[in-house]
Amino acid sequence: MKRSQEHKGMHTGLLALLTAAVALLAWELVVRVSQLPAFILPGPGIVWARLLTALADGSLLRHLWVTLQEVLLGLALGTLVASLLGYWLARSPRWERLLAPFVVASQSVPIVALAPLLVIWFGPGLLSKTLICALIVFFPILINTIIGLKSVPQDLRDLMRSLQASRAQTLRLLELPAALPVLLGGLRIGATLSVIGAVVGELVGADRGLGFLINVGRGQYDTALVFVAVFALVAMALALYGLVVLAERRWLWWQQRSNSLALLSGEQ
């Protein structure tokens, strides 16, 4: 079984490489056929060269680090507040009914519209970006916390009650492990959303970060730099997503002793 899993893993990896190669080839082809100037559509070679110079002068890593900080802080803050609120709302249906319309309504305000306000209020630095990330992360984590806690089987709750477990014990030994699959599902969505939040914030107003780099590239007709920044963002989002998937493998081993590499569903 193990062997066939490894086999499957290798297979998936090969397939991904192949897809990437085909995409690069198609990109190069489009550039050659259309003969667009590099400031509109640079070819893979130019972007690669730009990546190397951005790495060499340290600018890419510097801006990447700024964005990563915003993403991680925002994710942490949003997750913390949303899971605490979710825990409370899951326990008090009356408050949930009362607050649910406002929470849902707040979601209909696009983050792009809020970002300028937050930048005006909290400045162009780390704080405003962290808040934007936290806001965008908040909703999926909140919903998943509530769903996760409500999915805890009533019989197991009764069992803990009959054993006179304290509230803290029930949280630690029952609610947390039982809700963890759904919680991590929320975190998976949150991690990628947080990257979006950071970039939106940086595009609105910042003097550093990958979003800023995109603005600079656009302003200077350095389209290759825009590509480099976009790829860096994709890599970051993928890495974060991968980390959550790893955490799932580690903590939800009981669910998936025979899991394959199901990246999207995460469960088998």
């Binding site: 019989d155 054993l163 006179q164 030994l173 492990p177 009981w254």
Partner: protein, 253 residues
């Protein structure tokens, strides 16, 4: 076993229970009274929906009583309490815990340092040696229910409450589990109240069978089972067994 000396071990006095539902008050139990001496094995029989599980949950302190009261060792039951082991209809195990850790849970909640050792011994007692580290998903229905019984017994309860514990098992496994339960009971001699809808199971296991009527249920029949112990599987085919089974069947319908 010695009968109760002065006060009965468990007594139910004029117990009524009703729940609010959409159509109004739904009366489930009405004016139920019985008492159980220490060490007795009582089975509660009744048609489905008669409120057997409600009775068990009341005894466990998981539901509040509306009228009447329940005395456990002389004290009124006001909520879940120590000294009561509960086995649910489905094994109701935590899927992320091994068999061993599931059995250890009640002791772990009381910060008992010997939790794992005692859980280990308990798993041997319920016949699961070799499956200590198996996850519930890797156990058969019968094995999972053994873990659940071990979990209920590990804290050495005075009273064991079983809610149709073998209801989801196939007939053969079910008989086997009944025999297992008797074997364990002969060793530990707890007071047992077990809800079931299986007449043969009730007769085979119990010292006494209570039959609940239709809703709102009260006790329709309180029948002692005077069959010698230890009981053997062949007992099921004896004439006395058949006569009692017929009596119970008549009472249920």
């Amino acid at each position: 076993m010695s009968a109760a000396t002065t006060a009965p071990f468990l007594s139910v006095e004029k117990l009524s229970a009703s729940f609010a539902d959409r159509t109004g008050q739904l009366s489930v139990l009405r004016n139920l009274s019985f008492s159980v001496p220490r060490g007795q094995f009582v089975c509660v029989l009744g048609p489905s929906g008669a409120g057997k599980s409600t009775l068990l949950r009341l005894l466990a302190g998981l539901l509040p009583t509306n009228a009447g009261r329940i005395l456990f060792a002389g004290e009124p039951v006001r909520g879940p309490q120590a000294g009561v082991g509960l086995v649910f209809q489905d094994a109701n195990l935590m899927p992320w815990r091994s068999a061993l850790d599931n059995v250890a849970l009640p002791l772990e909640l009381r910060n008992n340092p010997d939790a794992i050792d005692r859980a280990w011994d308990m798993l041997q007692l319920v016949g699961l040696q070799g499956f200590e580290l198996a996850l519930p998903s890797e156990l058969s229905g019968g094995m999972a229910q053994r873990v659940a019984i071990g979990r209920a017994l590990v804290q050495d309860p005075q009273l064991l409450l079983l809610d149709e514990p073998f209801g989801s098992l196939d007939a053969l496994t079910r008989e086997k589990m009944g025999e297992e339960l008797l074997r364990i009971w002969e060793l530990e001699h707890k007071t047992v109240v077990m809800v079931t809808h299986d007449i043969n199971e009730a007769l085979y296991l119990a010292d006494r069978v209570l039959v609940l009527g239709k809703r709102p249920a009260s006790i329709k029949l309180d029948m002692p089972v005077k069959l010698a112990r230890p009981r053997t599987p062949q007992l099921r085919y004896s004439p006395a067994f058949g006569r009692m089974a017929a009596r119970l069947r008549a009472a249920i319908e």
